[in-house]
């Protein structure tokens, strides 16, 4: 998998963890402060090119999620069906690709 895509996925999963904290506490889990998570986040951001971090931030602000999976050739962000020739099987997850409709960053999950 493309390293930058891997970083973007990791970044989003950390942000989801942070967002879920309050909900988890309501369910009954005891969570500590987010120091380690913040440190891990800073490290990921430092490894990402600026333009990709800006894109991630912009998309997250707009949609709530910047990276979305593609399942059965369907963007799980906007549900656009991609033509099969849009990307070859070998290229999937090997470049940072965006949805031509919503602009979200794509991860082929299947």
């Amino acid at each position: 998998m493309n390293k930058q895509l891997l970083l973007l996925i990791s970044l989003q999963e950390l942000d989801i963890l942070k967002k879920d904290k309050k909900n988890e506490e309501e369910v009954g889990f005891e969570l500590e402060d987010l120091k380690e998570i913040e440190e891990a986040r800073v490290k990921i951001v430092s490894e990402l090119p600026d333009h990709l971090y800006r894109k991630y931030t912009r998309l997250t602000k707009r949609y709530g999620n910047a990276v979305v999976p593609v399942v059965n050739n369907i963007c799980q962000g906007c549900y656009l069906v991609f033509p099969t020739q849009m990307i070859s099987p070998e290229q999937k997850n090997e470049t940072v690709t965006t949805c031509p409709s919503c602009g979200r960053i794509l991860y082929w999950a299947d």
Partner: protein, 157 residues
Amino acid sequence: MPKTSIPDLVNNAKISLNVQSENKKDVLKQLIQLFEINEEQKDLLYNSVLQREEMGSTGIGKGIAIPHTRSMVVTDIMIAIGCLDKPLDFNSIDGKPVRLIFLIVAPPYGSNRKYLILLGKIAETFQEISADKNLFTTTDVESFKDELCKLFENKDE
């Protein structure tokens, strides 16, 4: 929103009734290995589960742990269940070692209500019982699933 059916999820769960492990990280890795995803996805999932554990142990006490995370590598909620041959320290809230582990993974997109409801139901059910009571004496996976489904019957509303 689809109804959260714990018996359906249990019936589709990946189960190992004789997990042998000496530490928390290793047991999580073993449970992730049960999922039918590729090795790269397993690594991503493992990191995500570990990061969640760093925020606070999911050992809810009474010998039970419910590690969980939301990850891009799954397209629907998946569960792996492991019974440990030897109780394992999991930094649980009551300090007791863990014998039964429920690993729950949900996709990051869409409504998170289904995932949270599931987590809540499992935690609530297990707070009323104890894995120390040899509740799961069977060595047969199908019987184990039946026992587990019975436990959740009253909670699956």
